[in-house]
């Protein structure tokens, strides 16, 4: 099935829809963009949708009685509808933020800063992105709560036995990444959510690296909070999403205060708007929601299952290609059923920065660094890795270019 679903996605043809991939590089040849885990490229239709918004319908949303404002509001809210539909979540509980990081901070501050107290525990894993670590540390510091880190197995997966043992009566929140941006690991979030709920803890799933790449069903996962970001899923910068349970959102105090999120403001105090607007203070990312909505329609047309099948195929090719380069060590799961197409690796004798720099001279873009997962880096015993990550527009050519550039890289740095 993998293959037939895979062959149905014609990545080479899709590249034509992405101006940056369709254009020839300054030096000739094409761009081998293997850094989609950092941010995705954007199809023309997403840029067009935002442009059309500004050219035809730009106005501030929600409060205007004139038609232009109504049109702006409609296009803005349609973005929310689209993204809610994509993850099978009620629209009124789909909060638009500036990025995934704000979405997680919203929970940490609006819920955590008020509800956590001395000795309470927030359980994260050793493979979390800093955006799902630091907000909890900041809130813990203010409340006396403790942030605990569930270890990762040598295969690069969450140690589920340890997780089970670490969830206890003091655990108030279990916050885990769905797909690791560094290791590629797909974590068993349904199981973790169930375990946490059984212990009476809340759950947050960082779906930043899953929503762009595979079908994600918020209802099936069942977490209290699910966060992701627009710019990694063919959408623009400046927008993220927090999908939470409606009851939880209604019960929570607001986070940012300001216009739009209020019902009434008096000198004595204020009352709040209905959800989701209660959590959207100030002028929202209007054009960005329009762009994200168009990105969602693009992903829906391609089919998240077909995108996943394509990437599983690419992940296999990537692992095979890297295995053929002497001195390469790959981090994270070997079985493509258990991983996405972000692959971290090291190359003996060449620092990741130098790999990244050399590859760039061959038109191959990979990321080098700690990938905002410093606790994981320490756990792996490295300071940084190189990471190649694929997306729906990635082709076998890109992977072959990576492979041959790596071989040349070894020569250049004298380790061949």
């Amino acid at each position: 099935m993998g293959t037939s679903a895979h062959t149905a996605l014609d990545a080479r043809a899709l590249r034509a829809e992405f101006p940056i991939l369709a254009a020839p590089r300054p030096g000739g040849g094409q761009l081998h963009y293997l850094d989609s885990a950092a941010t995705s490229q954007k199809p023309q239709r997403v840029l067009d949708a935002m442009d059309a918004y500004y050219r035809e319908a730009n106005a501030n949303v929600h409060r205007g009685v004139y038609e232009l404002a109504a049109e702006a509001t409609e296009r803005f809210e349609a973005g929310r509808d689209a993204v809610a539909r994509l993850v099978n979540h009620p629209r009124e509980a789909t909060v638009l933020t500036k990025n995934a990081t704000e979405a997680i901070n919203l929970v940490a501050w609006a819920w955590g800063a008020r509800e956590l107290s001395d000795g309470d525990e927030v359980l994260v894993t050793m493979m979390e992105h800093h955006s799902n670590t630091v907000p909890w540390q900041l809130v813990a510091q203010m409340t006396g709560a403790v942030v605990r880190f569930c270890p990762v197995t040598p295969e690069g997966e969450i140690d589920m036995d340890a997780m089970r043992a670490m969830i206890g009566p003091r655990t108030r929140m279990v916050a885990v990444v769905h797909v690791s941006n560094t290791l590629g690991t797909i974590n068993p979030v349904r199981e973790i959510v169930a375990m946490a709920h059984e212990a009476g803890a809340l759950t947050l799933v960082d779906a930043t690296q899953s929503v762009p790449h595979m079908p994600v069903d918020a209802a099936a996962i069942g977490s209290d909070f699910l966060a992701f970001t627009g710019h990694k899923m063919c959408g623009p910068t400046g927008i993220g999403v927090l999908a939470a349970t409606p009851e939880r959102l209604r019960a929570m105090e607001p986070f940012l205060g300001g216009g739009e999120m209020i019902s009434d403001v008096t000198t004595e105090g204020s009352t709040w708007n209905d959800i989701p607007w209660k959590f959207e203070a100030g002028t929202p990312p209007i054009a960005e929601s329009v762009g994200l909505g168009e990105a969602v329609r693009f992903l829906e047309e391609l089919g998240p299952d077909r995108i996943r099948a394509h990437e599983r195929h690419l992940a296999q090719q990537m692992l095979d290609a890297l295995d053929e380069v002497p001195g390469v060590t790959v981090f994270g799961p070997r079985q493509v059923e258990r991983r996405g197409a972000a692959v971290s690796f090291s190359l003996d004798g060449v620092h990741p920065h130098d790999i990244g720099q050399f590859l760039d001279s061959k038109g191959v873009c990979v990321r080098a660094g700690h990938h905002c997962t410093k606790p994981l880096m320490r756990h792996l015993g490295v300071q940084s890795t190189a990471r190649a990550s694929a997306y729906l527009y990635t082709t076998e050519d890109d992977i072959l270019a990576l492979q041959s550039a790596l071989a040349e890289c070894r020569q250049w740095f004298g380790v061949a």
């Binding site: 409060r63 205007g64 009685v65 404002a69 109504a70 019902s263 009434d264 708007n273």
Partner: protein
């Protein structure tokens, strides 16, 4: 001027200029106060319930022509209804405002004239303000009587 005529039907302007059922009820069975966060408009709604029917209903507060006309029409059509009928009425009106129901003139009376408002999302809130206040008012009435209140 098309759209505008459609929105501001003569009946609406009439109700706006001479409002029915305006004011408060001394010794009301239930009262609520709602406000429209978009524009700050307020609505005070009082009902007097006798034998399970709305014996009197009055709406007060300032607002735009749509919200005032809607309140005026509401008091006319809700007066005399039993509480469940009144809730059905509100629900039918709500559906019409969201474009999810064909208006039933027998049920709605003059309020059918508000059908055109459905095409103006921001104004829908104006039209609904007093009607949803009635829903809340009935809920409050039932709660207080269930608790052995007045």
């Amino acid at each position: 001027m098309g759209g505008l005529d459609d929105l501001y039907q003569q009946l609406i302007l009439d109700h706006y200029r001479s409002r029915r059922g305006r004011g408060r009820i001394e010794g009301a069975s239930a009262s609520v106060h709602e406000n429209n966060p978009v524009c700050g408009d307020e609505c005070f709604l009082d009902i007097l319930v006798e034998d399970g029917r709305i014996a009197d209903i009055r709406a007060d507060g300032d607002g735009c022509s749509i919200s005032q006309a809607a309140a005026s029409m509401l008091t006319e059509v809700a007066r005399g209804k039993d509480l469940d009928e009144a809730l059905d009425l509100v629900e039918h009106f709500r559906l019409m405002m969201h474009g999810d129901a064909e208006p039933d003139e027998d049920l709605l009376g003059d309020a059918v004239a508000l059908e055109g408002v459905a095409r103006y999302p921001v104004r829908v809130k104006c039209a609904l303000l007093s009607w949803l206040a009635l829903r809340d008012c009935i809920a409050e009435y039932r709660e207080t009587t269930a608790m052995g209140g007045r």
